[in-house]
Amino acid sequence: MISKSLAHDVLEAALANGGDFAEIFVENKETSAVVMLNGFVEEALWGVDYGCGIRIFNGLGAVYAYTNDTSASNLLRVAKEAAEAVVNTRNEKADIKLAFENMKFENIHPIITLPQSGAKKIIVEKLKLASDSAFAFDPLVTQTSCQFSGYTQDVLIANSEGMWAEDRRVRTRAFLSAVASEASEKQTGSASSGAHKGFEFFENLNTADMGNESARMAVTMLKGGMCPSGKMPVIVGNAFGGVIFHEACGHSLEATSVAPKDSVFSDCLGKTIASGIVTAIDDGAMANEWGSLNIDDEGTKTQRNMLIKNGVLKSYLIDKLNGIKMGMPSTGSSRRESYKYAPTSRMTNTFIAPGTDKLEDIIADTEYGLYAKSMSGGSVDTATGEFNFAVREAYLIESGKIGEAVRGATLIGKGSEVLQNIDRVSTDLELAPGMCGSLSGAVPTTVGQPTIRVREITVGGRK
């Protein structure tokens, strides 16, 4: 991407006016995507994203500059300009290690075929299969949207401490949605799957099943009634249900809001923040998992971070810069969407560990409530802990039995309260891929959980 001697000169220029640390992040990302609507290929895209970000630590602040012209003259100019922004810092220059040391690590994510090299014919066939099975599922299905996307991101991270780390991230994803219609109403259903794998992941995917699943959800919701409103017990389904932990807790454990003490969970290490049956983990080092990375975007090896053990807060998610403020080492959690973003602490694969309850027993034990079988996304205010997330597929529970399907529900509450109110955790842990948007852009993250029950939560319905 760029030579070691140029990297050295750029780092030197970046620290010319002071500053404690400088870093270069170079990225070359090749993307391929196909969109099929109602069984016809409407879009096919290929492209290259390419550029370089230069970051300088200046006390507890940082200067960030980026460009996609990586010629020596331009990079040196951009580094020099960035250095001019280094003010109110110590006078002596930071040491720059002259010799870079190649960082050695094992690639734990074997890849067979890069997604952009996958045969277009197979992509079209498999998307068509998904669309056809969705339409065949029920005559109420009127529209389908089926997408394939994949990318290969090559990164180089070099810093003034002598780090020279190169890595390749390969991700492949399929996303399907179906629309069911009746008179003047429409409802949607969706299914998605993704991994830190190559084209082989898509080739082995049962897209017909995914088509059926999205159609089933759309039709079920079309036939469903309106969700009731008010506070009630909610059983949150496994897999993407994990978005509840992601929003209600995960974001508030990121050093981005913990370090400046903006988070509801600042200064809470060792304290009980959740019900005793809750254990939660963020693990960026799971082989081929969607949210995994060999090294994070600062070159730190990813690891398994025990966030909450039996209700007690054990760790935050920390990046280098916030780690300085907190006096704690990085947890391999520093991520960014691309070279256009300075990295910061983010989640990777985050999930609640399995418990001992059985799903059937949890339902049988609920007199009245909502079974939020499948979730959509949500958001949180990390300062107040107030979160919201939308339910994609839900059922009423009456007298311990799953009843009528209901639509249009959103769950809202405060993270600290919801965590304390989890009173059942089942054994059926599953993970699901998603995209998470925050300060450093949109990054692939996995959410997950076994089925859980929250004693009481506000359900926003239309009845």
């Binding site: 196909v34 109602n38 016809f40 290929v41 096919a44 895209l45 290929w46 492209g47 290259v48 994203d49 390419y50 006390g59 507890l60 602040g61 940082a62 200067v63 960030y64 980026y66 996609n68 012209d69 951009v78 300009e81 960035a82 922004a85 109110n88 277009k120 529209q143 629309v179 003047s184 109403e185 429409k186 409802q187 949607t188 409103s229 008010g230 809001s257 400046p260 903006d262 509801v264 300075a342 996304g377 949500g378 205010d381 300062a383 107040t384 107030e386 979160f387 919201n388 997330f389 939308a390 639509r407 249009g408 959103t410 809202i412 405060k414 506000t458 926003g460 319905g461 239309r462 009845k463």
Partner: protein, 451 residues
């Protein structure tokens, strides 16, 4: 490699590789941001980027490819990928390139005075905002996100029919997020200023607005679940309109992803609702002279006194219906394919003041903040259930702040249930190609979930 030279090489290669016609789209941007915290610079960002997208027609099908690395060696790969992509397109609708127009709208969308604002001025402005926030109220615990930014974007579109258009636009913004705390209760507030004239950017006023928003909600509580009239202020009304603008594009309607399909000429909203989409509006900061296909932008009355008059078209969707493009063929960025997007999409204000709308409400809720739009509102079905906060209104008076409630309904039902439109048209932060504008609106009844 220089753009002009890259373009020449690209055009030669496209002809050699057998494209019937082709186009390149070049975007170049500059971005600056400074953020402060506790009187010091926390983040300082400076960026220069460019991206180039090629699309070309071969056997009646359009192939796309893009690069951020304008290296001469990438041209052949890019064009081969575009051919590969064109070959798998089997859409029933044909995509076209534009041959150009005689007249393009004229308006000032580039403000040289933004470039005259110096870096020290911007830093000072950010520091002043932070200081003003702390000075505004002793309950301000932190100023969590405070800074100043400016962006500039240049576009060039050039195709083998001879279309050659370019534009340059810029904007300046200042933003602040505050956290307040009292008796263990934490609340947040924010304010954004967008403009071209730094003299109009009063740091004290911006900071005080954000603090006021946060402090007001310290005393907020929920209310019982019930069905009530709901007034959305100019900000939240625009948030909702922004999500459901999706349904107003012809492409989504043609493919069955919009409930407005076939509704032209029919009453879809209450008679007091008139919606325009215009490339240029003096109060907006996302003005466009032409769309991503090079088609001139113009003013359209989309909904006239509640009647749907037109959907928004690009070249492809208009050709399908034998119509002309409305100049709404936009790409989300240089990377994407041509889609359909709003420009300045706004509900026409009336002369009813928001205060007089409040005065007419016996019992209802005024919504001033909402969360969860990206997941809690479904643009295809029209369904929404959103976490909101605002005020309880009784007998024409704001009684107290409310929080931890949801407001749920269906956008298409809501349109028919709008019983008042205010005079306070406000254009929101630009999103993508355009900007949503809305005055306050009153909706007859919506479901509220609380206690």
């Amino acid at each position: 490699m220089d753009f002009t030279l890259f373009k020449q090489h690209c055009f030669v290669a496209a002809a050699r590789m057998g494209f019937d016609n082709w186009e390149i789209y070049f975007a170049k941007s500059k971005e600056f941001m400074v953020r402060v915290r506790d009187g010091k610079i926390l983040e300082y960002k400076n960026a220069y980027t460019q991206g180039l997208s090629f699309r070309g027609k071969i056997d009646g099908r359009m192939g796309y490819a893009y690069t951020e690395n304008p290296d001469e060696n990438i041209i052949d790969t890019m064009l081969l990928k575009a051919i590969e992509n064109a070959k798998i397109i089997n859409s029933e609708d044909e995509e076209f390139l534009f041959r150009g127009a005689k007249d393009y709208p004229r308006a000032q969308i580039y403000f040289p005075e933004i470039n005259e604002i110096t870096v020290p001025q911007k830093i000072q402005l950010a520091l002043d905002m932070e200081q003003a926030a702390f000075a505004a109220d002793p309950r301000v615990k932190a100023v969590s996100y405070c800074g100043v930014a400016n962006e500039e974007e240049e576009l060039y579109i050039s195709n083998s029919y001879g279309l050659d258009v370019n534009s340059k636009r810029n904007l300046f913004d200042a933003f602040i997020d505050v956290i307040v705390e009292e008796n263990g209760v934490t609340k947040t507030g924010y304010k954004v200023f967008i403009g071209s004239d730094i003299n109009k950017c009063d740091p004290k006023k911006i900071a005080e607005k954000a603090v006021e928003m946060a402090v007001t909600f310290l005393a907020a509580r929920t209310i019982p679940s019930e069905t009530l009239p709901v007034m959305f202020d100019k900000y939240t009304a625009g948030d909702i309109l922004g999500v459901f603008a999706y349904g107003f594009t012809a492409e989504n309607a043609q493919k069955g992803f919009s409930l407005l399909k076939g509704k032209e000429g029919q009453q879809i909203a209450s008679e007091i609702v008139t919606i325009h989409d215009d490339g240029i509006h003096l109060s907006s900061f996302a003005n466009n002279l032409f769309d991503s296909e090079g088609v001139p932008c113009r003013n359209k009355v989309v909904v006239d006194k509640g009647v749907l008059t037109t959907l928004l078209y690009n070249l492809k969707s208009s050709a399908k219906e034998g119509k002309e493009s409305t100049g709404n063929g936009f790409k989300h960025s240089f990377r994407g394919t041509v889609d359909t997007s709003i420009t300045n999409f706004y509900i026409k204000p009336t002369d009813t003041s928001p205060e007089s709308i409040i005065a007419g409400i016996k019992r209802g809720v005024l919504v001033t903040q909402l969360a969860g739009l990206h997941s809690g509102a479904n643009p295809i079905t029209g369904d929404f259930s959103l976490s909101v906060s605002g005020f309880l209104i009784e007998n024409g008076q704001k009684i107290r702040p409310v929080e931890q409630i949801t407001v749920a309904g269906n956008f298409y039902e809501l349109l028919n249930n709008i019983t008042a439109v205010g005079s306070d048209l406000h254009f929101d932060v630009p999103r993508g190609s355009g900007c949503v504008g809305c005055p306050s609106i009153l909706v007859k009844s919506l479901n509220i979930a609380g206690e």
